[in-house]
Amino acid sequence: MIEQETRSEEDLDLPWQVVVHNDPVNLMSYVTMVFQRVFGYPREKAERHMLEVHHKGRSILWSGMRERAELYVQQLHGYLLLATLEKIG
């Protein structure tokens, strides 16, 4: 039980990344707007990520603590983007 709890806490401390995956239905302009709103990115940076999603199939939008990563993924799902959080490493 203690081991499980410790592992869980360690998991929380590991860095996570927020990944957005390509979706042929979502408009490019819409995806750009969502990145600007959710992450506060300037338009150019949001467009770079949008194009990366479009051409490479995925883009890492953010990395850091799990709680915040989960919050970002929740916001992205609220905008109907295909987003996941992944453990780094």
């Binding site: 042929p24 239905v25 979502n26 408009l27 799902h77 109907l80 295909l82 996941t84 959080l85 453990k87």
Partner: protein, 170 residues
């Protein structure tokens, strides 16, 4: 059909009965019930299958919140579309006025509808990029037209939202 912004409203005017009907179908089209692929698309997993705990918690706590968020948006759109209710003949040259503060709800409902329709018909990338497909000869063609028409409306709303930042929030 004409589409423009007038003060704090987005106006879609000179609507013919066909396009008016497509607009009226937005809330129903956004409903994924009965189509597992559409349900899976609207409520996609937040992490890979190895992250069982995250996915289970998500289903329990986040998914109901997302469901509520999506339903609120389609209800707002359905209320705006009441302007188009009535006799079919009265649709000719009708105007739909959307309050600018409802722009986010419209973006969401249009997106839900596009995703649900695309999941239902399993459109290919090629079909989704073919904006000049004609004529409409089947239910599938009509649904593809619907996806593109809703996308056109989204583009217009997005342009208005980005031109007037801050004016779209409730």
């Amino acid at each position: 059909m004409e589409i423009c912004r007038r003060e704090d409203k987005l106006e879609i005017s000179e609507l013919d009965p066909f396009l008016a009907e497509l607009l009226r179908q937005i809330p129903a089209s956004a409903n994924p019930e009965g189509t597992p692929t559409a349900e899976q698309r609207l409520f996609s997993p937040p992490a890979g299958p190895r992250e069982r705990e995250i996915c289970a918690e998500w289903k329990l706590y986040v998914q109901p919140e997302l469901r509520r968020l999506f339903r609120t948006a389609t209800e707002t759109v359905a209320a705006d579309l009441e302007q188009l209710s009535g006799n079919e003949k009265t649709f000719a040259n009708r105007t739909l006025r959307i309050p600018a503060k409802h722009a986010d709800a419209w973006l969401s409902a249009l997106n839900q509808a596009r995703l649900v329709i695309a999941a239902k018909y399993n459109f290919t990338d090629g079909e989704l990029c073919d904006h000049y497909r004609s004529p409409i000869g089947s239910r599938r063609d009509l649904s593809l037209f619907q996806v593109n028409f809703y996308g056109f409306l989204q583009e217009f709303i997005l342009r208005e939202v980005s031109d007037c930042p801050g004016k779209n929030s409730d």
